[in-house]
């Protein structure tokens, strides 16, 4: 039994906006669709950029990667601003809870020395890697073509600064509540031999003008970095009694799983595009292969240093991730 509430009902003459009806037919649209699809201006730009008169304000020629219809890609997570910040607020709460717990049980200072060194020497300096990734993602957010793509990139940029801040907090906690370890980590990022390859990789990425290639090059490095630090070393830490490393790693690992959802979906849209798919596939294969070679050079010394510290077969794990990436490329072009 339910009671009958009488409400005024008016049949709305329209279900949604014209551009969505043209694309999806006459049906109500979701908030993701209304807030995302076709939002980027399409035509009749008034002026050319002073800093790049060869291009329009929004121009597909900013990348060699093309989609016949840029909105053939949509974010599988359907993030518009509200669900995005809601999801990140929950992630931030989880990180804070972990840090509080580590702090209340004084767990970081009870880490085995070698793992404490992994965190101080290698993990905390990654905050600079994240900061670099933020800049690369911002470039994609500006120069990418189509709001479905640039929206993902803008949120990713914000995520990266969030990751950098979370790693900074770990550094502060590890440093007994002071910022000393952060200063130390910055010196390491700029000077330690083991980190110079990665720093170089990021700096060279800043010069990549093609946003699609920048996205792939960042993703390749990300897969190696996250595979190493937040999957492989996470397992090793648990095996070696350094559970608090894992407590930290879980958050970055679950963020990265979320991040890769949209990147993979974009790759899929690129390679399956009926018009540009073949060219995109070639580009994706070549870019990934080149980036992988460079990223392995960059990360080899990081893995080697991790192995020196904790003997965790990190170098072998890097090779395993590389094989997975190579296989994926081979499958693309098969």
């Amino acid at each position: 039994m339910q009671y009958e509430l009488r409400t005024q009902v008016i049949d709305p003459p329209r279900k949604t906006f014209d551009h969505l009806v043209r694309r999806y037919g006459d049906r109500p649209a979701s908030r993701y669709e209304e807030g995302t699809i076709d939002i980027q201006a399409k035509e009749n730009f008034h002026y050319r950029p002073l800093w790049d008169p060869a291009h329009d304000i929004y121009d597909e020629a900013y990348s060699a990667f093309r989609l016949t219809d840029p909105y053939s890609f949509t974010d599988p997570r359907q993030y518009y601003y509200a669900p995005y910040v809601t999801s990140r607020a929950a992630m931030a709460d989880a990180v804070a809870a972990t840090l509080d717990y580590l702090d209340s049980r004084d767990l970081l200072s009870r880490l085995p020395d070698a793992w404490s060194s992994v965190m101080g020497e290698l993990l905390v300096p990654l905050r600079h890697y994240e900061s670099g990734a933020q800049m690369v993602s911002c470039d994609i957010a500006r120069f990418g073509f189509g709001t479905t793509i640039t929206q993902c990139a803008a949120y990713a940029a914000f995520d990266r600064i969030g990751n950098a801040q979370a790693l900074s907090r770990v550094g502060i906690a590890l440093g007994g509540g002071t910022a000393e370890l952060l200063a130390d980590a910055k010196t390491r990022w700029v000077e330690d031999a083991s980190l110079q390859g990665l720093r170089r990789y990021v700096e060279e990425l800043f010069l990549e003008k093609d946003w699609g290639r920048a996205l792939v090059r960042l993703d390749v490095a990300d897969r190696l970095v996250y595979g190493l630090f937040f999957a492989h070393l996470d397992d090793a830490a648990i095996d070696q009694g350094a559970g608090s490393y894992s407590l930290v790693a879980q958050h970055l690992s679950s963020w990265f799983a979320d991040q890769r959802k949209w990147v993979e979906a974009l790759y899929k849209a690129w390679v399956t595009d009926p018009g540009t798919g073949a060219a995109n596939t070639q580009l994706l294969a070549v870019t990934t292969t080149e980036a992988l070679a460079a990223a392995l050079v960059a990360l080899g010394p990081v893995a080697a240093r991790a192995d020196e510290l904790v003997g965790a077969a990190a170098a072998a794990s890097l090779d395993a991730t590389a094989t997975t990436i190579r296989d994926a490329v081979a499958a693309l072009t098969a």
């Binding site: 409400t7 906006f17 908030r31 601003y81 509200a82 640039t150 700096e203 010069l207």
Partner: protein
């Protein structure tokens, strides 16, 4: 707190050594701005990502609850009148796409400014602007289901004659360098003119029963106050870094004041003519928000740096009692080619106008409406069938008058590479002649129609290309919105109203 914030955010930066710094930041030198120490940029908010996401998620939860409740309860029927929504049509068509443009270009600043403090502030603003784009769309989406004029706003922003005013304004800013953009949007748009450009729509909403838009306005307030602070911080930073920056910044203030002020012409007529329940007159808003707060306050502070009030500000002051009347009179006659409706100001409205514009309304504009009243009696509502000439810079039809004579049309002509270009005012002419290579590129809707780029040679061809449907434009009285509004309200006997199963 400050130390912690700096450790978390600012100290993330490092000096590149494998590539040249000038290659990492290739856009921050060509404008001639000299920055000696990026760390002097103060970020007064010191937000961290976790604090930001929690606060914003909470705000959005409340906002969307209001939107859902309003939609479910047919809240649109509690507006003062359906004609109020003309203001919101203008907002969705003209302003929301600008929020999106801001989102994209603050992402550009978040990449291309050399300092980590301003980059992070710009990134926060970038995603805030995405929030505003989407919350505005979601707020107005419910009205689109019941009323005309909203349904094709994106395509119209790219195509329609009066919308090239805001579009060209923002395109101008996006195609400038990063520092000019900061002054154009961060300072001039978000600080200097925000109370004239943005706030009147939100206040109009609150006076006319538009709970969702008003709630959106309140919900955006804390974001906007961060953006205003960023704009003010940006200008102070540039001025303090090097004396040679002062004349460059002054010229940008001069340009962007006038450029933004011309966009407010659309807001002025909205305040004085489109709102069934008035908030305040344009003149009063201009005096309070611009003359008193900006000229009397802000520019007194900026004088310390050697900054003077914007060039041509006197021309703006001189037209505060005529601006809205001239613009609405023009839109009234061209609204058959617009995605909003206009109507004859009734006796009450004219009384209000005469009271608020004692020096000008009865003398200059009432006679026009009296003549139109006679046309209406004879069944001949007036529409102009020709196409107006547009100003090469602001793209508003050439409707403005000489600064000292409200009865003589103002027309300025400049010659560039042997070709003649028309502008509407001293301000627009000065802007044109400063950067003619930029403004000759303008996509002027009327020129484009004549060149056959807008769907065809006839008015119906062009309107079809604009995606304008029956009831979107023209006269409000008897329009689809007016008719529906009345039938929905006359359904008091519930004969047309069903009940939810």
């Amino acid at each position: 707190m400050k130390q912690r914030y700096e450790a978390l955010t600012r100290d993330l930066d490092w000096e590149p050594s494998y590539v040249a710094k000038s290659d990492v930041f290739p856009h921050t030198e060509f404008e001639g701005i000299k920055i000696h120490d990026w760390s002097k940029w103060e970020d007064p908010f010191r937000l961290t990502v976790d604090a930001y996401t929690k606060y914003q998620a909470e705000k959005d939860k409340r906002l969307y609850a209001v939107l859902d409740g309003f939609a479910q309860s047919q809240g649109h029927l509690t507006l003062t009148e359906a004609s109020y929504l003309n203001a919101m049509k203008l907002f969705l068509q003209g302003v929301t796409p600008l929020e999106y443009q801001a989102h994209r270009n603050f992402a550009y600043l978040a990449r291309h400014l050399n300092g980590p403090g301003p980059r992070f502030a710009a990134l926060c603003q970038s995603i805030d602007e995405m929030r505003h784009t989407q919350t505005e769309i979601h707020t107005l989406s419910n009205y689109n289901k019941y009323y005309g004029g909203f349904h094709n706003y994106l395509e119209q922003h790219d195509r329609v004659w009066y919308l090239s005013v805001p579009k060209s304004f923002f395109d101008d800013a996006l195609t400038a360098g990063p520092f000019e953009f900061l002054i154009a949007i961060g300072f001039s748009f978000e600080y200097l003119l925000t109370n004239l450009l943005f706030v009147p729509f939100m206040s109009g909403a609150s006076f006319n029963g538009d709970l969702p838009t008003m709630t959106f306005g309140f919900s955006a307030q804390s974001d906007e106050s961060r953006h205003m602070t960023l704009g003010l911080e940006a200008i102070k930073f540039l001025l303090e870094q090097d004396e040679a920056n002062v004349p460059i910044v002054q010229a940008w203030i001069d340009k962007w004041f006038w450029r933004g002020y011309r966009v407010t012409a659309l807001v002025a007529q909205m305040l004085d003519y489109m709102l069934p329940r008035k908030v305040m007159s344009w003149k009063e808003a201009f005096e309070l928000y611009f003359e008193e707060q900006m000229l009397g306050g802000l520019f007194q502070d900026l004088a310390f740096y050697g900054i003077t009030p914007p060039k041509h500000v006197d021309d703006a002051i001189a037209e505060k009692e005529i601006l809205s009347h001239q613009v609405y009179w023009t839109l009234y006659q061209f609204s058959h080619a617009a995605a909003f409706t206009t109507t004859f100001p009734d006796a009450d409205a004219q009384t209000w106008l005469a009271e608020n514009y004692p020096g000008t309304f009865d003398k200059l504009y009432k006679p026009l409406w009296d003549k139109e009243a006679r046309n209406l009696e004879n069944g001949g509502r007036h529409f102009v069938r020709g196409l107006p000439q547009l100003c090469q810079v602001c793209q508003i039809p050439m409707l403005f008058t000489e600064p000292d004579d409200p009865t003589t049309l103002c027309q300025r002509e400049s010659v560039h590479n042997g070709e003649k270009f028309q502008t509407c005012s001293n301000g627009c002419q000065w802007i044109f002649e400063r950067e003619p290579e930029k403004y000759v590129q303008a996509w002027l809707p009327v020129h484009q129609i004549y060149q056959g780029n807008c769907g065809g040679p006839t008015v119906p061809d062009v309107l079809a290309w604009y995606g304008i449907q029956e009831g979107d434009g023209g006269e409000y009285k008897g329009s689809v919105d007016d008719t529906n509004w009345k039938s929905w309200h006359n359904a008091a006997d519930h004969s047309h109203i069903g009940s939810e199963a």
